[in-house]
Symmetry: C2
Subunit: 313 residues, 2 copies
């Protein structure tokens, strides 16, 4: 039995994952990310103790704990090299955590962890697998021959930070034109707001008023009832994602390419046009095509993947 912890900007989620990779119990607490990291780590350990007790187990039943964390993670030394979202700079997270619970602990970049969770659950043991998660940013995870591909310095798989528009929008990473600037949900919200300014008659205005804000759902929902401006936003946004997927597939030609993150719940609305673009523009015109699909674990991918990565390490 393993524990997976998904350290997010809003919540710390933790769950117990059995030896078959099934999530059998989970809970969460607010991260309160403005605090010093030592308090956050203490809360993570408390949450782990709580779920173990609440589920009727003892900590001795747990073989290892895996923590998924945003940022650059030095997995082999247990260090959060840098996280922008939750402020950490060369934090020895594993050592700090083991002050509270002294069993094997593994940390992993959160997108890598989610990728690994999805891969184990729904990746059919393929040799090459790419996961893209669309959220605040665009994260990526690459699994080759069953192993998380991290690059030589553990900073790899940043597929959201390959550019699709040379000298385009400035990204949070400092570079210009990154896929993340166009295909993240943050970017979708920007694109939606821009179009709302242009089209004051769009249904999106009323939708945003009713829901109290513009979200990643605004354009998709209004497109469903035929709002022209919303359809334009949605189509253009999907085109950006498709460009990124196509680029990555030309590089990896993976057996499977999986799209996750909240917006992936749009399902075929997203998947069908992405597949159309990618298969039409694929460099590979004569060999079998990469299977492109939507993630299945959604929010649990991070917990399950962190736990399974700990098992694997």
């Amino acid at each position: 039995m393993y524990i997976g912890v998904d350290l997010g900007g809003t919540n710390i989620a933790a769950g117990i994952v059995d030896d078959n990779g099934k999530l059998i119990y989970k809970s969460s607490v607010p991260t309160q990310k403005e605090r010093h990291y030592s308090e956050i780590i203490k809360d993570m350990a408390e949450l782990v103790k709580t779920i173990v007790a609440d589920a009727g187990y003892d900590i001795s039943d747990i073989k290892a704990i895996g923590i998924g964390c945003p940022g650059t993670i030095d997995n082999s030394n247990g260090i959060v090299v840098y996280s922008n979202n939750i402020k950490m700079d060369h934090v020895p997270l594993v050592d700090e955590f083991r002050k509270y619970i002294d069993i094997p602990v593994n940390i992993e970049n959160d997108a890598n962890a989610a990728a690994y969770g999805e891969y184990i659950a729904n990746g059919n043991n393929v040799n090459s697998y790419v996961f893209m998660t669309l959220g605040t940013g665009v994260g990526g995870g690459i699994i080759i021959n069953g192993k998380i591909y991290r690059g030589f310095n553990c900073a790899g798989a940043e597929i959201g930070h390959s550019s699709i528009v040379i000298d385009g929008k400035t990204c949070t990473c400092g570079k210009k034109g990154c896929l993340e600037c166009y295909a993240s949900v943050t970017a979708l919200i920007e694109q939606t707001e821009e179009k709302m300014k242009e089209c004051p008659d769009s249904l999106m205005i009323e939708w945003a008023r009713t829901h109290g804000k513009v979200s990643g759902r605004t354009a998709f929902e209004c497109a469903k009832v035929g709002d022209k401006a919303a359809i334009e936003v949605k189509d253009k946004y999907i085109r950006y994602i498709a460009e990124g997927v196509s680029n990555i597939i030309n590089i990896f030609q993976p057996d499977m390419f999986v799209i996750g993150g909240g917006i992936s719940k749009e399902g075929d609305e997203l998947l069908v046009p992405i597949k159309k673009f990618v298969y039409e523009n694929d460099f590979n015109k004569y060999m079998p095509k990469t299977e492109i699909k939507i993630a299945e674990l959604f929010n649990d991918a991070g917990i399950i993947g962190a736990a399974l990565a700990a098992e694997n390490e």
Copy 2:
């Protein structure tokens, strides 16, 4: 002892490679690529027989033959699935070749073969290695844990066909905005010609007249003697390459990234500004950086790599 054959659009080059990966003898014949592939294959086999005899060996001294070929190569079945440059469509190259010389034969995409050759010769056994070759197109080769990464369908590593300009120039692959449309030598020549039209006083005009044509060297040579227009062409071209290198490094964070192809002979002229851009724009700001360097085997990489890949298979 192994034989490597590099099947190019202009020449068929073949060489004998010893067990230490050293090229000990080589020769070439014109490809005459308009011919039926069966004639080209026959000439390849004749060339192999000739170099073996000329070097004073017998075909029984050769353990295997490796052939590097442009296009999509089904390496496990020995088939050229598709090659645009030398017209081949589902050609069983290995079977055809073995009609003439019946020893183990392996075929490999030419860029993969060159990557593998450079990797073995100068890759220091690193775990992750990316090779980019700038020529008529932009080819790529990826070596992970000592193995050529081909993707599940042998069509992978096409790093020249990830886009850097969404909806940009139409590529020979059908997609728009591919790196190849901006960073290949073909693209450099186009960029040079465009600037020459704009700047009739540029030294490039005289250079082209003297040399009988515009080439990949035109802008680089004229930039060296201070021609403003040439400097602009050169700087912009290098910027395109750097964009591609930066994208690939953010994805792979390989131990080593190597730039090959004829234009790579420009050395530091190319390497210094590429490194500057990549290191300044790298997503990885806190971990060791990828070593970026110029290829060393140049034209022999294809022969040596094809031979070594055959040894490896």
